[in-house]
């Protein structure tokens, strides 16, 4: 776990004191809202539909139990007893009072957390693989690199007032669990044929109203060149990116308009200029950072208790089958805790649940937790013999739902229930779909299927890269939901295809049901996933299932 040094601590303390004074001046009326807004956004404070919203960064999704416990305290003391985990490895508090926010930030600083750069036109929270440091398929732990980028980008003077936000993700595994291809810039740690480790860099991915998949700008970058290279990319974009229209002010548009080859050439020229100013201090820093991420001293010992419970208890087995992932140490497993109990708000955890997860991490998980972009919480290292006890404890806190990767493991943005930008609700649609398929008892039979819902074209709910994507819109003053099919968030990323006209609020769940029924009919066998079936048969049969009336008219 990365520990703040004195410099970091002093920086955050000073920043909080500054913001406390700004809040005081806003409250006494000496700052207008127009003057205050950029200052509050720099500290993660939004004003939403019904209240303020504080967005706290969980850098690369990593937390220890003290930090999670502190988040529970914030939820209880200054909010309504819960927090909302987001697709960018942040946590949002939906109900703070303006006058309490400085105290909340101080409380966060006590455990090395903050809300800096969780909003505004700057480099946002650096995200990563939620199985980092634990996954069996990773080359190395990607978090030291993510932390290096975080330190470099925090308060970097050139990148505080860019045309638009800039999002960076880092991955190092065979499987992409960090949605690298939907980021402005992605760093993929790779090995070349000579066995050297370096970086593949992708740029120009993003969702929003013009979704695009990232492209490779550099296939293999030597390790020492990482920061100057990223700095070159961001500064080229900062320079030539469009500022005339905020919807076109993302690097994906720049890449689209100039072409990747032109951008590559500009980055190369910029890199030649600034590379000499990086004298190696960043590499020393990286080795220092790495020491903080040393793997825990994994316990050995028999895993027989796990096998016995697996054979004896079908409830435990169902949970183990869906919620566990392979750990690099054979005696251990990665546990994903679903905070998507059927009918619950995706991503919400109560203060009690946060505290329970923190305690379980301390007892069984070497004190580590991760937040996933899929809005779940992970205990990255649990010895297999502890799994039955862990599962029993999770059950007590309503945290043992066995649905990871299944149809009820839905990503949903806050939508019209909270978000000032929304055009329709997202949360109740997710709640109804999860409840419906739970009632049908089809969930495990359906298998791996990702539904993602956004409440407006900004696509915070990632609907473009969902197997079944749902976008809520306002059509003549009523909520309307548009469906996209066949999106994918992994290495084989692509943007889903629009299925046709949208559905009214009370038609959307039956529409999803028709798609799923069509899939169950169309799949060649129980192993063929929804996405595989879709790729084999295409949109057309799903369209017929979705719009049976239109079909009749044609006939």
């Amino acid at each position: 776990m990365y520990k703040y040094n004195d410099f970091d601590t002093a920086f955050v303390t000073e920043r909080n004191a500054q913001f406390r004074a700004q809040v005081a001046r806003r409250i006494d009326g000496s700052l207008t809202e127009d003057e205050f807004k950029p200052l509050r956004l720099m500290n993660g404070l939004y004003l939403q539909l019904h209240a303020y919203m504080l967005r706290v960064a969980v850098p690369y999704g990593s937390l220890n139990s003290a930090q999670m416990t502190q988040l529970a305290l914030l939820a209880e003391k200054w909010d309504k007893g819960y927090g909302h985990f987001t697709t960018r490895q942040n946590i949002q508090f939906n109900w703070p009072k303006l006058s309490d926010v400085p105290d909340m930030l101080d409380a966060l600083a006590e455990v090395g957390m903050h809300a800096i750069q969780t909003s505004g036109n700057t480099i946002r929270n650096v995200t990563s693989d939620h199985f980092a440091g634990a996954a069996a398929d990773e080359i190395e732990d990607p978090r030291p690199v993510a932390e290096l980028i975080r330190q470099w980008s925090t308060d970097h003077p050139e990148f505080q007032f860019m045309g638009r936000k800039f999002k960076i993700a880092v991955g190092a595994a065979a499987e992409d669990r960090a949605v690298l291809k939907a980021h402005d810039l992605a760093v993929r740690i790779v090995q070349n044929p000579a066995g050297e480790t370096g970086y593949q860099i992708l740029i120009g991915g993003g969702l929003g109203r013009t979704p695009m998949i990232g492209q490779v700008i550099n296939d293999f970058l030597p390790r020492a060149d990482l920061l100057p290279y990223i700095e070159s990319v961001v500064s080229v974009w900062n320079q030539i990116g469009r500022r005339d229209n905020k919807y076109k002010a993302r690097i994906k548009i720049t890449v689209h308009e100039h072409g990747i080859d032109d951008i590559r050439a500009r980055v190369k020229a910029r890199f030649a200029l600034i590379r000499p100013s990086f004298t190696g201090a960043d590499q020393e820093l990286l080795s220092e950072i790495k020491a903080h991420f040393a793997a825990p001293n994994f316990r050995s010992g028999s895993t027989a208790a796990y096998g016995a419970a697996y054979n004896a208890d079908p409830v435990f087995r169902a949970w183990a089958d869906t919620n566990l992932a392979e750990h690099r140490n054979e005696a251990h497993a990665i546990v994903t805790i679903s905070i998507k109990k059927h009918g619950a708000t995706p991503g919400d955890a109560s203060a009690d649940q946060m505290r329970a997860m923190a305690d379980l991490a301390a007892e069984y998980g070497y004190d580590e937790l991760r937040i996933s972009h899929q809005q779940n919480v992970i205990l990255p290292h649990v010895h297999k013999s502890d799994l039955p006890a862990l599962h029993a404890r999770l059950k007590q806190h309503d945290l043992a739902t066995a649905n990871i990767g299944l149809i009820s493991d839905i990503i949903a943005c806050p939508g019209m229930d909270y978000c000032a930008l929304a055009t329709a609700r997202a949360i109740p649609v997710a709640q109804q779909i999860a409840t419906r398929f739970d009632a049908l008892k089809l969930e495990h039979d359906i298998g791996h299927l990702q539904i993602k819902i956004s409440g407006c074209i900004n696509a915070c709910g990632h609907h473009h890269i969902a197997h079944i994507g749902i976008l809520g819109l306002d059509r003549a003053g009523v909520e309307n939901y548009q469906i996209t099919l066949g999106g994918d968030a992994t290495w084989t990323a692509n943007i889903g295809e629009r299925a046709g006209p949208g559905f009214a609020y009370d038609e959307i769940v039956p529409a999803v049901e028709r798609i799923v029924e069509a899939y169950l009919d169309l799949r060649s066998n129980a192993e063929e996933t929804f996405l595989e079936t879709y790729r084999r048969v295409g949109l057309s049969p799903f369209k017929s299932a979705l719009y049976p009336e239109a079909q009749k008219k044609v006939a």
Binding site: L49, A51, K80, L98, T345, I427, Q431
Partner: protein, 102 residues
């Protein structure tokens, strides 16, 4: 052809709590839409909005929201204002919390 002016209330968020509030006819801010001043005249609406916007130390983001007259005062005509009036639909939080506790 001149646009037809539809009825409005002045609405904003309270500076400290962020709550949705409405300007009343006697220059107070109420958390209850039914107490908002129903404005049917466009020039009057602009004046009331200016009055609201000058209160920088009390409120944030004042604007004119469409409403229609109802039995108990103004009612929302769009679902967004309906949510602002009540609170989110996943929990009984926001204004509906107070109601649930009466």
């Amino acid at each position: 052809m001149a646009r037809i002016f539809t009825a409005k209330v002045v609405t904003a968020n309270a500076l400290i709590e962020g709550d949705v509030i409405y300007l009343t006819a006697d220059d107070q801010w109420s958390r209850d839409l039914t107490q908002g001043e129903l404005i049917t005249d466009e020039a009057h609406a602009q004046l009331r909005l200016l009055k609201a916007q000058s209160q920088v130390a009390t409120i944030v983001g004042a604007y004119l929201a469409d409403v229609k007259p109802g039995d108990n005062g103004p009612e929302p005509t769009h679902f967004r204002e309906d949510f602002r009036r009540t609170g989110p639909s996943n929990y009984a939080h926001g204004k509906q919390e107070a109601e649930a506790n009466v």
